[in-house]
């Protein structure tokens, strides 16, 4: 699972808190358990010593009287049993006939004089003591349940577990909220940066005056964008200059060729050469034109406005006729089935770029057609897109070639003996992507090549 920085920070902080709180709670609980034990041992010890001394050292008190005293005393322990044994192991005093336990007494009798033992046996705490007077040895055994001590211990446990269970999610939520607040500018940066494309390189991140690390990141990003934009502008400037420098000699070549062609003294072969040379020069000029338009498209201001796609198509057709004099098109505007509502053919576009894309498609269709006939169909779809289908009869591409058709310098098997740079469709796709449009190639059977373009309809009108 991929965790965002916010979630990761919240989980890390929460886990650290939980660990510290857990360790602290266990330590408190253990300390309190030890305290309870010490306190109860003291009480058992006092009980054993008092009974022993009263029985052994006070002559007036016998076991009967001691039991009576014991019964009437206020500080009796819960389920308490006190037994005093003589040196031979016989009970000389017992608060009850039944000790209620199966505790092994032999361990008591193995205690050296003055020694004591204390342990927990089931729900009981057991205290034993070897008492030695000048005359005799006695063993005192006190068994009791520390009902109140254990209750306090349990209560403390419940308190600590409840505090742990309650505070952990609260800490998680608070940390997440705090991280979200802290990283909010980062989210904004992500949204703004994601929207940056080659059409809005002038975009800069809005910075706050907090001067924290996120602000520093924003400043660094803006600096990077300035460098990219400036590099892009230099590239554009270079493209424009290069275009000018390349076009002028091309214009010279073409004009000389055209005048030369107009002469009447050439042989057929020379005319053919001149015609081919002129066509090549025009093709090169077109390529330069497309590359320049693409280079310029980085700037938003070239988005000139809203135009009717059918009119752009006719403009493109007129220009295509210069290179493809035999081109014939069958043009249809189709209505969505079940409606006679006229379609909206407006598109938001860079006119020069879109015309160039259409010229490339029409030239392509003419070049790869068997009969110079191209079918053009325009339709507004239900999801507010304009569908433009340009198709021609001619050998289609196989699946492998079709999947690479928009790659630069891709030339299909059907391109044999056809003029072309292999860049036209790549440039066309790039231009259409720039307009938020899509293009796909469909081979319908073996002899019908279709290019389908889907362009968003403009919400503004011409």
């Amino acid at each position: 699972m991929k965790l965002t920085l916010k979630k990761r920070a919240a989980v890390s902080i929460s886990l650290t808190y939980s660990l510290i709180f857990g360790v602290t709670s266990i330590t408190i609980w253990l300390l309190f358990a030890s305290y309870r034990e010490d306190e109860f041992k003291i009480r058992l010890e006092e009980k054993a010593l008092t009974n022993l001394r009263l029985l052994v050292e006070v002559d007036e008190i016998n076991d009967q009287l001691l039991r009576t005293i014991e019964r009437s005393t206020l500080n009796r322990l819960y389920k308490e049993k006190t037994v005093i044994y003589n040196s031979t192991g016989h009970s000389v005093y017992s608060t009850s006939k039944d000790t209620g336990t199966t505790w092994d007494k032999s361990r008591l009798f193995r205690l050296p004089p003055g020694a004591e033992l204390y342990e927990t046996f089931g729900e009981f705490d057991v205290y034993g003591f070897h008492y030695q007077t000048q005359k005799k040895n006695y063993y005192a055994l006190v068994i009791a349940e520390d009902k109140y001590g254990y209750r306090k211990l349990r209560y403390l446990g419940v308190l600590l577990i409840s505090a742990f269970a309650l505070s952990t999610p609260i800490v998680w939520l608070l940390t997440f909220a705090a991280m979200r607040g802290l990283l909010k500018p980062l989210d904004r940066f992500i949204t703004e940066i994601t929207s940056i494309g080659d059409r809005n390189l002038t975009t800069r991140l809005a910075l706050s005056d907090r001067h924290d690390e996120i602000d520093q990141l924003g400043k660094a990003f803006n600096l990077m964008m300035e460098r990219i934009e400036s590099s892009y502008l230099r590239q554009q400037e270079f493209s424009a200059q290069a275009s000018h420098e390349l076009r002028t000699p091309l214009a010279r070549i073409i004009s000389q060729l055209e005048n030369l062609e107009a002469g009447e003294t050439h042989s057929e072969r020379t005319r053919e050469y001149l015609y081919n040379l002129r066509n090549d020069a025009h093709q090169m000029a077109n390529l330069i034109h497309s590359l320049l338009l693409l280079a310029q498209s980085a700037n938003d201001q070239h988005f000139t406005g809203v135009r009717r796609l059918d009119e752009l198509l006719f403009d493109a057709f007129e220009q295509t006729k210069m290179f493809a004099p035999n081109l014939q098109i069958h043009f249809e505007i189709e209505l969505e089935e079940g409606t006679d509502k006229e379609p909206n053919l407006d598109v938001q576009c860079n006119e020069a770029l879109l015309i160039q894309a259409l010229i490339n498609l029409l030239r392509n269709a003419d070049l790869y057609s068997d009969d110079h006939h191209v079918d053009v169909r325009l339709k507004q779809t239900q999801d507010n897109l304009l569908s433009l289908r340009i198709s021609n009869n001619g050998a289609t591409l196989n699946d492998g070639e079709a999947s690479r058709i928009f790659n630069a310098f891709m030339r299909g098997d059907n391109a044999r003996r056809k003029q072309g740079s292999g860049l036209g469709l790549r440039i066309t796709q790039r231009i259409l992507q720039y307009h938020g449009a899509s293009i796909r190639y469909i081979a319908e059977g073996k002899y019908l090549n279709v290019f389908e373009i889907l362009l968003p309809v403009s919400t503004q009108t011409v």
Binding site: H244, A251, I253, H302, Q328
Partner: protein, 236 residues
């Protein structure tokens, strides 16, 4: 500077301002081959010293020339002669260049390199527009609608209506029929050149486009249908 002014002759006189010697030579040669006279200048000094005070039938100006650029020269020509058509040439195809050229008063714009046929078509169109006096039939009226063919404008009830080139051509075809029915086939033939064919459905779509712009919002409808025959203009 080559050639002299002969405004009395019918031969149209072109002034070409182009700094590239080869290109200017070839364009001049082409112009002469097609029956025009042509003077050539290579920079703004040539224009100011030899051509500024003369009147040509058409100016072809390269934008990027030494000294004053073609756009500034165009402004200067416009100050002296409001009528002379100006065709700008440039190796840049930037939209800004086009806008600047048209703002300076240029009538057309051609990006290098170009086909000479295209140059010729534009020269002839500009000269036709300049030389042709307003004739009967250039301005057509149907009820409260005025179609100005040379200006390519349409007004209805004094309001300018913006039409696309195809819509304007379609309206002109109907207006020129003077109330007679024009069949869909006849419209298709006139609306598109020979290299385009289309179905009657597409003609209907264009008629609907036109109706939306011409008739919508007006009590009197001008574009009428005669089912099975075609369309005609009449106030109803």
């Amino acid at each position: 500077m080559q050639g002299t002014m002969q405004s009395e002759e019918k031969v149209p006189y072109i002034y070409l301002l182009e700094d590239d010697l080869t290109l200017s030579r070839e364009i001049r040669q082409f112009a002469i081959n097609h029956g025009f006279s042509c003077d050539v200048g290579h920079d703004s000094t040539d224009f100011k010293t030899l051509a500024q005070d003369k009147k040509y039938d058409l100016y072809i100006l390269d934008i990027n020339i030494p000294g004053m650029n073609g756009i500034q020269i165009c402004e200067r020509i416009r100050q002296a002669d409001r009528e002379a058509p100006v065709l700008m040439l440039t190796a840049y195809s930037d939209v800004k260049d086009k806008v600047n050229a048209f703002n300076a008063g240029a009538d057309d714009y051609l990006v290098k390199p170009f086909h000479f046929d295209e140059l010729l078509a534009r020269i002839q169109a500009l000269l036709r527009r300049k030389n042709k006096p307003l004739q009967q039939g250039d301005i057509l009226r149907v009820h409260d609608m005025v179609v100005n063919i040379p200006e390519a404008t349409v007004e209805r009830s004094g309001q300018i209506i913006l039409l696309s080139p195809k819509e304007f051509k379609l309206l002109t075809i109907l207006a020129q029929a003077d109330g007679k029915v024009v069949s869909k086939s006849a419209i298709a033939e006139k609306l598109w050149e020979k290299s385009v064919d289309t179905s009657h459905n597409t003609i209907e779509v264009y008629i609907n486009f036109l109706r939306r712009k011409i008739d919508k919002g007006h009590a009197t409808r001008l574009i009428q249908t005669r089912p099975g025959f075609g369309y005609f203009l009449k106030a109803e």
